[in-house]
């Protein structure tokens, strides 16, 4: 039990979570309050801690693949991507070009699905019930497309060291193109229903301002950082896979408030669609999986691989010892750092604003707890 740092009699604690609709998972935030004003929100983590890092250190590196999808289950493919790229970098495995294209296409589709889900969930936090069903409607198409090729709908284990599990077919290409067309038509609906909604703007504008300095101090990355006007995207700044071959922009905001973070994510969806379109247009032929030894030896030494997940920078840091079992596997998840700024961001604001801020940070709790 936390002791109050204030001596005034009117202060009290409010437990927000672990079963609160706005924490999006089993997260507890202990709020020290004065009336409806939040003085000190302190997140309490670890309710669904599974010690993925230990699991990574206790089995051959192939065995950890399914775990990667169980951290951020909303946007699992970039997690797959980071891990396979890490092992490929460490073991010097070549990846066929077509496989890299397929990875980019599926990762970006997954990112769009994640942003759609976030959009709905954020509006649900603000008390609007309808956008989440629109978001789910569109997201469902992506899940169907990905299910056809990966075999699962949420916790993908699609990428393999040296390629992907199986090739995409014409049906996938057609369905993806149809989906891109569909989503572009739906922008209007979202704009009318949400973006131009006066109540929504009033609830998101000038709330939870993240300054660039704050982003540096807390290591905030992803759309939350780009909302503050810093165009930092691992796909651009630290190019991996075949991202340099595509033409896309990194949308940024100006003030760094909730509305900017919202706008950045909405505009990012369009950029992801552009990447998918270009990748489909220039999809090279060839194999989708290279020959990889059954037992992958991880040479001594450490190695890092960073990818841009839907929520920010995802870094895998591996220390090899010459066997196929990683000696140390550290997973740096974006939401962990993004959430850590909450005590500073949520000081002296109203409870509804705290809900708005937490929604705009796009938290996925299993990713934070790992």
């Amino acid at each position: 039990m936390r002791e109050s740092q204030f001596q005034e009699p009117n202060r009290f604690f409010l437990n927000m979570g672990p079963q609160h609709p706005s924490t999006h998972g089993v997260l507890l935030v202990v709020l020290e309050m004065d009336g409806e004003y939040v003085l000190d929100p302190q997140p309490v983590l670890g309710f669904i801690h599974r010690m993925h890092e230990k699991m990574g250190e206790s089995r051959p590196c192939q065995g950890f693949m399914p775990n990667t999808a169980r951290m951020d289950y909303v946007c699992a493919l970039p997690y797959n991507h980071g891990y396979v790229s890490l092992i490929e970098r460490k073991a010097g495995i070549e990846v066929p070009k077509r496989a890299e294209y397929i990875r980019v296409i599926t990762s970006e589709l997954n990112r769009v699905a994640s942003h759609l889900l976030w959009l709905g969930a954020y509006l649900l936090d603000l008390g609007a019930f309808t956008p989440i069903l629109y978001g789910f409607d569109d997201r469902e198409h992506i899940l169907d497309i990905l299910e056809d090729v990966t075999g699962s709908r949420l916790t993908y284990c699609y990428y393999r060291f040296g390629g992907v599990y199986r090739d995409i077919d014409d049906k996938f290409v057609e369905a993806t193109r149809a989906f891109i067309k569909r989503l572009r038509k739906r922008y209007d609906i979202y704009e009318k229903l949400v973006t131009k909604n006066i109540i929504f703007i009033k609830r998101a504008e000038n709330i939870g301002i993240i300054s660039p300095d704050m982003a540096i101090r807390y290591g905030i990355t992803g759309p939350n950082l780009r909302g503050s006007g810093i165009a930092y995207d691992i796909r651009k700044n630290e190019p991996y896979s075949v991202y340099p071959e595509f033409d896309f922009e990194v949308p940024v905001g100006e003030r760094g408030d909730c509305l900017d973070r919202y706008m950045v994510r909405v505009r990012e969806m369009e950029q992801s669609l552009r990447i998918v379109e270009q990748a489909l247009d220039t999809l090279p032929d060839g194999p989708v999986r290279s020959k990889v030894p059954k037992k992958i030896k991880l040479a001594p030494g450490d190695c890092n691989f960073a990818v841009e997940a839907a929520r920010g920078e995802l870094s895998y840091y591996l220390v090899g010892d010459g066997t196929s079992v990683p000696y140390r596997l550290k997973i740096r998840v974006p939401s962990y750092s993004n959430l850590s700024c909450l005590p500073e961001l949520g000081e002296g604001i109203l409870l509804p604003d705290l809900v708005s801020i937490m929604g705009s940070l796009d938290l996925v709790i299993p990713e934070i707890d790992r």
Binding site: F12, L14, H20, P21, S22, E36, L123, L124, D125, L126, G127, A128, F129, T130, L133, Y134, D137, L193, N197, I199, F200, K202, R203, L350, L351, P352, D353, V355
Partner: protein, 327 residues
């Protein structure tokens, strides 16, 4: 039979009226529940309830049976008296306003000459119920909901009264029947558009409906004042809410939309109720649509809106009305 004939006919009339109104309240809640879910479904591009009966028309009946059959859970540390009192307080006063509402020229339980004031005073008891429920629940979230409800109710009762006053000034009476009578030629919505808008906005706030559903605010306060309630306790709050909505819409119809007036029907003095209900349910439909479209406002925004915009505008409106009438 002899006993009945010895009773004053007015008493028998009232007893009948109350019985009819109570049964109507339940019917209205079932219809509203069904309408709400169906409209929400269509707004969200899904069919809504489809399983029980044709197009799910019996869904709410089944839900009602389920709610009645559920255990009344009383948490350990609550104030038992207040906790039980809350739902009853929420449900009982909602019957009374319906007694003075003229559904048609002849369908009115009792025409009070201060009918409008009677309605206002009865509907404001609802906030007591929320306060009692929130306080008695011994839960911080419920307490928040109760506090919000009180502040919200005080803030929005003023613009409601002021917008009503504008109509009263024009009709020169507080009796609802006479107000409707005064709209024989032209509905007051055309003469008092600003008052109508203010009334509808405040009415939505008064009934704690989204986007002003701060006392429940699911995503902030879990469910606010009724977090701890289950079964019938919970459903009494809902009965209260839907009946309050009906009352607000009925008063709007009486004050602004010409009550039972409409194209002439046979037995017009009775069948005017058809027009009355059409208008009421149109307003309710409008309120439901708003709920499923807008996010929730923040508490300070809600109060700012009432004190900074609605109250001054309604005061100006009254002033102008008074001056124009005097001239």
């Amino acid at each position: 039979m002899e006993i009945i004939s010895t009773l004053p006919p007015e008493l028998i009339r009232m007893v009948f009226a109350v019985i009819i109104i109570i049964s109507f309240i339940f019917l209205n809640a079932i219809m509203m529940g069904y309408l709400e879910r169906k409209i929400a479904g269509h707004v969200q591009r899904r069919p809504g309830p489809m399983e029980v009966g044709s197009h799910g028309i019996l869904q709410l009946v089944v839900d009602g049976v389920k709610l009645v059959g559920k255990e009344l859970l009383v948490p350990v540390n609550v104030d038992r008296t207040l906790f039980r009192l809350g739902p009853i307080l929420s449900f009982t006063p909602v019957i009374l306003p319906l007694l003075v509402i003229p559904f048609s020229e002849k369908l009115q339980a009792r025409d009070l000459n201060l009918g409008l004031l009677f309605i206002v005073s009865m509907t404001s008891i609802n906030v007591m119920a929320i306060l009692v429920a929130g306080w008695g629940s011994n839960n911080k979230y419920s307490m928040f909901g109760a506090m919000r409800a009180v502040a919200q109710s005080i803030a929005y009762e003023i613009p409601i009264l002021l917008s009503m006053l504008a109509v009263v000034l024009m009709a020169n009476t507080f009796s609802l029947k006479e107000i409707v009578g005064a709209q024989q030629k032209i509905w007051f919505i055309l003469l008092q558009p600003l008052a109508f808008i203010i009334y509808i906005i405040s009415g939505v706030a008064e009934t704690n409906r989204a986007p002003f559903d701060l006392p429940e605010a699911e995503s902030e306060l879990t469910a606010g004042f009724h977090t701890e309630y289950s079964g019938m306790g919970f459903s009494l709050f809902f009965l209260g809410e839907y009946t309050n909505m009906f009352t607000v819409a009925s008063v709007a119809t009486v004050l602004f939309l010409g009550g039972w007036h409409g194209p002439t029907l046979p037995y017009g003095e009775y069948l005017g109720i058809v027009w009355f209900f059409l208008k009421v349910y149109f307003l309710l439909f409008f309120m439901i649509m708003i709920r499923w479209t807008y996010p929730r406002v923040r508490f300070d925004q809600l109060l700012n809106f009432a004190w900074k915009y609605l109250v001054p505008f309604s005061l100006v409106n009254i002033l102008i009305t008074a001056v124009v009438i005097k001239l």
